[in-house]
Amino acid sequence: MAEPAGGGALRNAFGGVLSIFILILIGVLAFSIRLFSVIKYESVIHEFDPYFNYRVTQFLTKNGIYDFWNWFDDRTWYPLGRVIGGTVYPGLTLTAGTMWWILNSLNIPLSVETVCVFTAPIFSANASWATYLLTKEVKGAGAGLTAAALLAMVPSYISRSVAGSYDNEAVAIFALIFTFYLYIKTLNTGSLFYATLNAIAYFYMVCSWGGYTFIINLIPMHVLLCIVTGRYSSRLYIAYAPLVVLGTLLAALVPVVGFNAVVTSEHFASFLVFIILHVVALVYYIKRILSPAMFKVAVTLVVTIGMAVCCAVIAILIALVASSPTKGWSGRSLSLLDPTYASKYIPIIASVSEHQPPTWPSYFMDINVLAFLVPAGIIACFLPLSDASSFVVLYLVTSVYFSGVMVRLMLVLAPAACITSGIALSEAFDVFTRSIKFQLPNLFSNSPSAGDNSSESSVSQDVVKNDNHRQVEKSETVPKVKGDNSRPTEKSEAVMKGKQSKKNRKKEKDLEEEDILKPKKERRLLVLPLEASAVAILLLIVLGGFYVVHCVWAAAEAYSAPSIVLTSHSHDGLHVFDDFREAYAWLRHNTDEDDKVASWWDYGYQTSAMANRTVIVDNNTWNNTHIATVGTAMSSPEKAAWEIFNSLDVKYVLVVFGGLVGYPSDDINKFLWMVRIGGGVFPHIKEPDYLRDGQYRIDAQATPTMLNCLMYKLSYYRFIEADGSGFDKVRRTEIGKKHFKLTHFEEAFTTHHWMVRIYKLKPPKNRIKGKWKKSKSSSKSSSKRNGATRKNPWQ
């Protein structure tokens, strides 16, 4: 037995080395496919939210962790300020800060910006390796490698983790997959050590992203599923119970979660299942130590008493939960469960473009070929069904539902899709290569056993996929190489050796069984005809090729735009629109340190980070009334708007205007949301006032309210001088009011392509001509004036 054992060990070692090499290549692939934006533009931080994270990381690296933990930021949400230490998820910034600190202490002087830009690609490589580990626990190393390769490239994940997209998801997806891996590992091995690691990984996930509630609801659902389908085992207890206790404690440690970890409805599922698990464990224990008759007695007794107690407890619980208006759920979670909730009650959540439901084409764009490999993977998970594969199926189903509610959550679907597709592809390759391998010697030797093989393959009554753990060998050829192709795992090799002695006995027994019970489900290996397998393998490789091409295209063209720098190709070459940074730099160099800048909340983070000025509202959108105040000011006529801004000590107003160059995401296009949000808090702003016949227009047919509001005036002031006819390239009409003067604002700066326009508030005159005004202009609440004609003291 030494000879075949040595051969097996050598092949094992070769397989192991090849696996590691493939994993390194997958890591390099994941890292480099995300570098397109750095190559095409520059190493710059993208979009809006990453600028906030970047600013926080800068503060952390400059001031240290204690100041970071206690940081109260007074340069945002003026005059309220924001407690950064208590309202930010610190995982990302702490990770980047640690990496920067380690590199600097090794005397590699990378700037904070560089570390921030490249954090996401590094962690996506880590996420691919975590996917390999997770899928290996579910199905085996082959499936693991395939799933890791798929995740490295899947466009949905690339979209949130390109180099420069310094956002929570960059680390959170890695934490998610790693937590799931450790949970499955604990479930498979029953080791308390992995349970501890699981809790720590869950802690890292809670630190990183608000989506951690997905984990703390999915795992209890899976435990419940296992209990209900009769798969309760003591490993399940070890996997779940320590996680709940330790996990709740660790989640409560993070300041932004705090006591929400025990009080909000998002966590109740975990406690409920915790109690249910203990009851089930107790029942199994008593069942084991009692005799069956006594157990029946016990059951009847407990059921009668227990029912009454249960009803009482449930009644109390329902009363508690129903007493709060939202039943204890937060607004965001409710909008996930009921997709129409946000548009009815919370316009701010509904207005974020990432929170809209996805369209059907976006599924194909984001997970491409995986969209139809996933159902095959689900079937493969059922043959055979284990705890781990039932978890994967549950994860996939729930993430498909949530991705249907919000486009942003396609990101959570991506790992599930990659895992199931990896399983499906790996199983398919197994079958095809096994067919070729078994039939190749027959092709060359033409022995009579070829006839046996073809008869076996045509008789296969049900599609049985190869299982790495349990095999019953039926074919009579090639006794050494069992079922595995060139990627063996150590486990299956050991199983192989053990089964060899049983094989002969089982073979005779099974042959008898086969004759007696034909329709009984048999565990036989599927072997397909040689040519079909070869063609199928070729087609699968072509499919993979299409996937790769699509992913690279999506990464290069669709998801690499930094959105702070825009380019356009025209007949005379490449135009670069760097207006945003131009405006922020102007603000930084030409205004006082303490000047307040008002703009719509989209630009708050960028203004804080790049212009370093105090802003009124920013992307955190935690205070709806404050945002509504700014929205009302933008929708009011000049005088009323001046009053509102003056009450907030605003000096400069920033408006984004895309009419000259055709930039579609400007403030005029977002204006209706300003009206809606403002109108939600201040009832004198009514949306129909700004619409003509239900249509939103800015041309000569627009309503007077629209033509007089601040947003219109600030966007189109002197626009007629820019292109002569006042033709708005985005709305594709000429504007309504072309020649007008500003009475309360003066233009401070307009960028090169007129994309950002900055206005300064005119100071009030010393003497007010005309009658003494009774109404105070120092009212802090929004003015009740709605454009009624009054004598204008500034002209």
Binding site: G190, S191, L192, F193, A195, T196, A199, I200, S233, S234, R235, Y237, I238, A241, P242, V245, L246, T248, L249, L250, A252, L253, F259, V262, A281, I286, R288, I289, L290, S291, M294, V297, A298, T300, L301
Partner: protein, 114 residues
Amino acid sequence: MPKATNDAQLLIQSLRKAYAATPTNLKIIDLYVVFAVATALIQVVYMGIVGSFPFNSFLSGVLSCVGTAVLAVCLRIQVNKENKEFKDLPPERAFADFVLCNLVLHLVIMNFLG
């Protein structure tokens, strides 16, 4: 009713008899679990009397009791000789895992206690 009480008595007796057969080391672990749960209950009652003001302290106290009880149950599962799944797990390894997990739990508790 008398049949029910009769059944209950029979049940309790058979439970007691079956439990007496468990090995001593498992009984010690069970005693520890009972002690931890009792401590947790005492803390909850105390909170009911004096109010929950430093809520984090209350939470950490109760969760430390519950946590160590849960970990002791896990240890009992792993050490129990009747449990076929953990046949190859040496009890020393089970105890080492138990100690490690308790260390992490109490580190977090001490941090959260305030």
